[in-house]
């Protein structure tokens, strides 16, 4: 009896796997490489939400696979190549550090399409995509300047790369549009995710007189510290309101779903081509979490700014932009700084009282 049961089970498994293979053969295979574990918030989680949205939309035509917690060193090239060898035809690599490995694998497999997030190297079969998060930072800067009683913002920086620096500058320009004398204190933690360090940085910033915490790191630790001390804070990447129901003002929410769906549709239609996508509020590459814990007039201002940026009427880096040294920055994009200047930003705007690390 036992034996018969076992062989029946084996047959079932076998049948299942054969059916699975046959079924998978006519579906487009789409792969994802994740930097962190998926968890339930943060950078990787938002990409996972994007993948889930993709599956919901096109699940009957595609099969998705992901590899999580792939370090940015030599392991990533292997991980990407493993996805190629498993038959994936479109592969999203979702962290800056995968840039060169993605390019190497892309050159080796010209018939597979690659999409690299937040990088700047492209090829015939390798696109890049990213978000204009500085737009959200500008709104946050305005809110912060309105809400701060001390006139001092605390900013937790991850790494001094252009994306983070343009975020600080956009925040500052937004804040200065409300209060020209606003001050910002910056602590660099040199990590994207380290709740201990982030909490320590938040405490130090509050101790130094800041009363609003902003972060470019991934964990809700800073939000929790702000909540404990009765101060205000902004979330990052994900909705963090449950960590500070009375503290969160808003949060920049990465929403990759629409982009993933569009790109996979293009792949299915055979219209995929290498592109450089840098989406802003207008293309829904990210969204702002509900404006909470602020008076109605501040909320109204934030919504108006958001609408103006979305409509293209307001550009956070509208010329003239004055650098930290008091000199005007060369304006290469007509009325605003050129995209290249923002993508490679390595200067502070006037009023940031900090020295850029490594400069």
């Amino acid at each position: 009896m036992m034996k018969r049961l076992l062989s029946a089970a084996a047959a079932l498994v076998l049948a299942g796997s054969i059916a699975g293979v046959a079924h998978a053969a006519d579906k487009l295979k789409v792969g994802f490489i994740y930097l962190g574990p998926i968890g339930d918030l943060g950078w990787t989680y938002q990409h996972e939400l994007g993948r889930q949205a993709l599956v919901k939309e096109l699940g009957d035509k595609i099969e998705t696979t992901y590899l999580e917690n792939v370090p940015e060193g030599p392991d990533s090239e292997r991980a990407i190549e493993q996805l190629v060898r498993a038959g994936n035809k479109l592969i999203f690599t979702t962290s800056f550090g995968y840039m060169d490995p993605t390019l190497k694998v892309a050159k080796k497999y010209p018939n597979v399409h690659f999409e690299h997030s937040t990088g700047y190297k492209r090829d015939k079969n390798m696109s890049t995509y990213s978000g204009r998060w500085y737009q959200g930072r500008y709104i946050q800067g305005q809110i912060a300047a309105k809400m701060s009683k001390a006139g001092v913002l605390g900013y937790i920086g991850s790494f001094p790369i252009p994306e983070v620096i343009s975020g600080i500058n956009a925040t500052m320009l937004g804040a200065q549009s409300v209060n020209p004398n606003i001050k910002v204190k910056i602590i660099w933690v040199n990590t994207w995710f380290d709740p201990g360090k982030e909490a320590d940085a938040a405490k130090a910033l509050l101790d130094q007189g800041a009363d609003i915490i902003m972060q470019h790191t991934d964990s809700p630790a800073a939000m929790q510290v702000a909540a404990e001390r009765g101060k205000l804070a902004f979330g990052q990447d994900s909705e963090m309101i449950k960590f500070g129901p009375k503290a969160q003002l808003t949060s920049i929410l990465d929403t990759w779903g629409p982009y993933y769906i569009a790109r996979v549709k293009a792949e299915l239609d055979g219209t995929w081509k290498s592109e450089d996508t840098w989406g802003g509020l207008d293309s829904k590459m990210f969204e702002m979490a509900p404006y909470t814990n602020m008076p109605d007039d501040v909320k109204k201002m934030a919504e108006e700014t958001q609408a103006a940026i979305t409509a293209g009427k307001l550009h956070p880096f509208k010329c003239p932009v004055v650098g930290q040294d008091g000199k005007e920055v060369e304006c290469k994009g007509g009325a605003n700084l050129a995209d290249g200047q923002i993508l490679g930003m390595n200067f502070y705007v006037k009023g940031v009282d900090d020295k850029l690390p490594g400069k």
Binding site: L67, D100, F159, I165, M345
Partner: protein, 363 residues
């Protein structure tokens, strides 16, 4: 009735040989149960983990690539541990070696420099790793500072030095301010052995290192000294062996190997210097060293086996959608069983009956 561990009068050689096999067997059984609970066919899953990666040249190459730094570092560490010198900072020596070698690559970039560049880089990496490892060794010998602490703390120093260099002076001018050097020139790159693959010269070097360590420990007086100092420090003193000198020597050698592994990794699979060049190789190598019982051949096997679980784990994620956490659980279980079974070499189980129990008031 009670189950107690009783010390054996002597080490059991039979158990010493079959203990790793018992450990692997128990791991397989436990994993099968785990896979079944997850609703996956255990046989298929184990096949994907252990057999599939061994069946094609690509995966075999990747196993070698992954094992290369682990084996090289672990060999050095085993010499230290045998001599009772506790180098925990191989990760730092790895990074410093990578930095020192990259210095030559960065300085010669775009020049007419010839084929001396790569050998010079490898030497620089090894020398820098050795010097960096000598810091904690000297602190122990001269001041009695715990080398466990100092070597570990120097890891963070090395990490920050690397970080500073790639964000500041060595940053790729065309790299949009991102923290990485430019790609190394071809003369500064470790050659690939098979066209189209990633297997590189470093794997051959690792094999040479294993062979050298084997000869050193098995055939030379120095090797004998190392083992005596570790097992019986008093006897070693009476024998006239200088344990301080051995601490310095083993630290220098293990630092050199870690540094060499670092520059090979950077000039090989990565191709440029950047933060995060090591996913914790220096620490994983400690596990490899002990899994291989501090024996060069054992370390080679352990390194390859651990690499196999990484590659297999990835394939399991892709083909069977088994979460990465399961791979980690798997590695943890394996280590647990290996250590648990090792205790059987020195101890044996014995049933003690309640009537003979003397200390009954303890509870």
């Amino acid at each position: 009735m009670q189950l107690v561990l009783e010390k054996r009068a002597e080490r059991s050689r039979t158990i010493a040989l079959i203990s790793p096999l018992i450990a692997i067997g128990l791991t397989l059984v436990t994993m099968s149960v785990l896979f079944a609970v997850l609703g996956k066919n255990p046989i298929t899953a184990l096949g994907v983990y252990f057999i599939a990666p061994l069946t094609d040249s690509y995966s075999l190459q990747e196993i070698a690539v992954k094992a290369t730094p682990l084996v090289m570092i672990a060999i050095g560490l085993s010499l230290c541990y045998l001599a009772n010198a506790w180098n925990i900072g191989a990760e730092g020596q790895f990074l410093i070696g990578a930095v020192a070698g990259s210095w030559i690559a960065v300085k010669t970039q775009g020049t007419e420099a010839g084929h001396w560049v790569l050998p010079a880089m490898l030497v620089a990496g090894a020398v820098a790793g050795a010097l960096y490892a000598l810091i904690p060794a000297l602190c122990r010998v001269k001041f009695g500072a715990s080398e466990i602490l100092t070597s570990l703390m120097l890891v963070y120093v090395a990490d920050l030095i690397l970080d500073y260099l790639v964000r500041g002076p060595w940053r790729d001018p065309a790299g949009f301010n991102f923290p990485t050097t430019a790609e190394f020139d071809p003369v500064a790159t470790v050659p690939v052995l098979i066209e189209g693959g990633r297997l590189h010269l470093g794997s051959i070097i690792a094999l040479v290192v294993v062979a050298c360590a084997f000869v050193l420990l098995d055939r030379t007086i120095k090797g004998f000294e190392i083992r005596v100092v570790g097992v019986a420090p008093r006897a070693a003193r009476f024998g006239g062996f200088n344990s301080n000198q051995l601490v310095l020597l083993t630290f220098a050698v293990s630092g050199a190997l870690a540094g060499l592994a670092g520059i090979i990794e950077v000039a090989g699979p990565i191709g440029h210097l950047q933060p995060g060049i090591s996913p914790g190789y220096g620490f994983t190598a400690i596990i490899v060293a002990f899994l291989g019982r501090l024996n060069p051949v054992g370390i080679l096997i352990a390194g390859l086996f651990l690499a196999l679980t990484f590659i297999g784990g990835e394939q399991a994620q892709i083909t069977m959608k088994i979460p990465l956490d399961v791979t980690k659980v798997f590695q943890g279980i394996l280590l647990f069983y290996v250590l648990a079974c090792d205790s059987l070499i020195l101890y044996r189980f014995k049933l003690v009956f309640a009537s003979r129990q003397v200390q009954s008031g303890a509870g």
